[in-house]
Symmetry: C2
C-alpha cells in the first residue's frame, strides 16, 4: 500500500483536511501530520527558536505546535513509519493563486515535500475571500475538491512529477465544474489593503488584509481558469532563477 502524508495550514481540525484525508484513504495508508492551530499566510516558515511538540490525536494522526513546514519535516523524519510515497497539502479554505503562492502555508508544505524528494500536491478550494474564511462552505464542495486530489494523486503515482516541481491545484467553489486547465501562475495587481485603527488607549495599529484581489488579465493563468469555472493545475518550480535575466545581466552588466 502506498504511504500518503496529508497536511495543511488551516489546522488539524479543519473541514478541508478531513475531507481530503478521507478521500485519499481509497489510494493508500494515510497519515495526517498538521498544525495544531491555523497557520494561514505563514509561507515556508520554519520554527528554529523554540522546540516543537507533537500530539497523537487519533489513528495515524498527529498535531504539531508549529508551521506546515515544521509538520512535514517532523512527520517525515520522526512520525511516519517510512518516507511517504506522496504528500498532499490542503484542502485549503481559500484559493492559492498567482503570486499569493509565496505566502501560502499550504503550498509551502508541498515545497518542503518536494525538497525532501516526495512528489507533492497542494490543493485549495477557491472560495470567495470575503466569505468569512469559508465557514459556510458546503461540505459537498470539499468532497468535490477531495475527489480531484485523489485523481491527481493517482496520476502522480503513475507518471511522477518533473524534478523540483510540485502541483498547485485550485478548485472553483461551484457545483458544476467545467473541466481542468493546465496553467501558469497569474499576477495580482498589487493593492496592499491596510486598516489603521486605534486601540482603547488611543495607540495606532495596523491590520493587513481584507481587500479584494484584482488580477492582471492573462491567458492560461491559474486565476483565469478558476474564474471561468475550471480546475487550475500549475506546475510550480523550486528553482526560482530567472535564467533569461541571468543571461542578460551576464552580457550587459560589466562589473
Amino acid at each position: 500500500m502506498p504511504l500518503i502524508l496529508v497536511t495543511n495550514d488551516d489546522g488539524i481540525s479543519s473541514a478541508g483536511i478531513k475531507a481530503l484525508s478521507k478521500a485519499l484513504g481509497s489510494l493508500g495508508d494515510v497519515y495526517i501530520v498538521a498544525p495544531e492551530t491555523e497557520q494561514s499566510a505563514v509561507a515556508h516558515a520554519l520554527t528554529l527558536h523554540r522546540p516543537l511538540k507533537s500530539a497523537r490525536t487519533g489513528k495515524n494522526k498527529f498535531s504539531i505546535n508549529g508551521t506546515p513546514t515544521d509538520c512535514v519535516i517532523i512527520g517525515v523524519n520522526k512520525l511516519l513509519p517510512r518516507k511517504p510515497d506522496i504528500l498532499v497539502s490542503g484542502i485549503n479554505h481559500g484559493g492559492n493563486l498567482g503570486d499569493d503562492v509565496t505566502y501560502s502555508g499550504t503550498v509551502a508544505a508541498a515545497m518542503e515535500g518536494t525538497l525532501l524528494g516526495i512528489p507533492s500536491i497542494a490543493i485549495s478550494l477557491a472560495i470567495d475571500p470575503q466569505s468569512n474564511g469559508g465557514l459556510n462552505i458546503k461540505p459537498a464542495r470539499f468532497r468535490q475538491a477531495a475527489d480531484i486530489a485523489v485523481e491527481y494523486a493517482g496520476i502522480v503515482f503513475k507518471k511522477g512529477l518533473p524534478k523540483d516541481t510540485l502541483l498547485n491545484i485550485n478548485v472553483p467553489d461551484i457545483l458544476k465544474i467545467k473541466g481542468v486547465k493546465f496553467t501558469k501562475q497569474g499576477k495580482r495587481v498589487y493593492d496592499s489593503s491596510i486598516q489603521e485603527l486605534s486601540d482603547p488607549r488611543g495607540k495606532k495599529h495596523y491590520w493587513i488584509g481584507g481587500g479584494m484581489p484584482i488580477w492582471e488579465p492573462g491567458e492560461e493563468t491559474d486565476f483565469e481558469a478558476v474564474n471561468n469555472g475550471s480546475v487550475s493545475v500549475t506546475p510550480v518550480h523550486l528553482d526560482m532563477t530567472n535564467y533569461k535575466a541571468l543571461k542578460f545581466i551576464k552580457n550587459n552588466w560589466k562589473v
Copy 2:
C-alpha cells in the same frame, strides 16, 4: 535624492542592518523599517491574525512587531513619505543560498518589494552556519558587504531590474574577495537535522536545525561562487511556473 527603504530579518538592532543603512546613505535618503525582534526563517509570512504596531526608534527609523514582509507593507504604505526608489534587505547574518531562499525572511522582504513594483535587492553575509549566529563577525566584513550593496544599488538605479525579479546577493565572509559571479540558485542535498530531547517532565520535543548543509555539485551556482571566494549575484524570479513541465503535462497528461 532617491528614497531607499532598508529592512532585514535579523531585527532592527542587528549589526548587518546598521552597516547597510550607513553605507546606503551615500546614495540617497535612507528609511529603516525593520522587525523589532529576530525573524530568521519566517519566509514570506504575513501577519493576518493580529494587529501590527510601529515604533519610531530614531530619525527615519521604525521597528514593527512583525515579519520582514509586514515591515515592507506597512513601511511603504504608511511610514515612508512616498514609494521608495529601491529596497535593500539585509545584511543577513548568514548566507541565503540555493533552495534556502524559500525560507529566508531577508529574501522575502525583497520579494514583497518586487511585488509592490520597487526594484529590490537582498544581501547576505555567508558566515559559517556553525559560528554562533555570526556574533563574532568582524565589523569590517559587514562594511565590505555593505559596499557591495551600494555598488549594486547604483547599478540597479542605472539599469533597472527585469520584471518580477529581485537580486539575491551573497558575500563570502573573507577578507580578500576574488570577484563577482552571476549565478543560478544551487541545490542542497536535503538533510533535515532534528534533535530529539526530553523536557524536565520527560515529555519529548524536537528542535529543527543545527546540521551542516551539503550542496549538490553544480556549475555556476550561488553556493559554488561563494565557496570559491566570490560574491554571488542571482536574479530570482517571482513567477515560479515550471514552463517546461507545463508544456510537457499539457501534451502528455490526458484528462
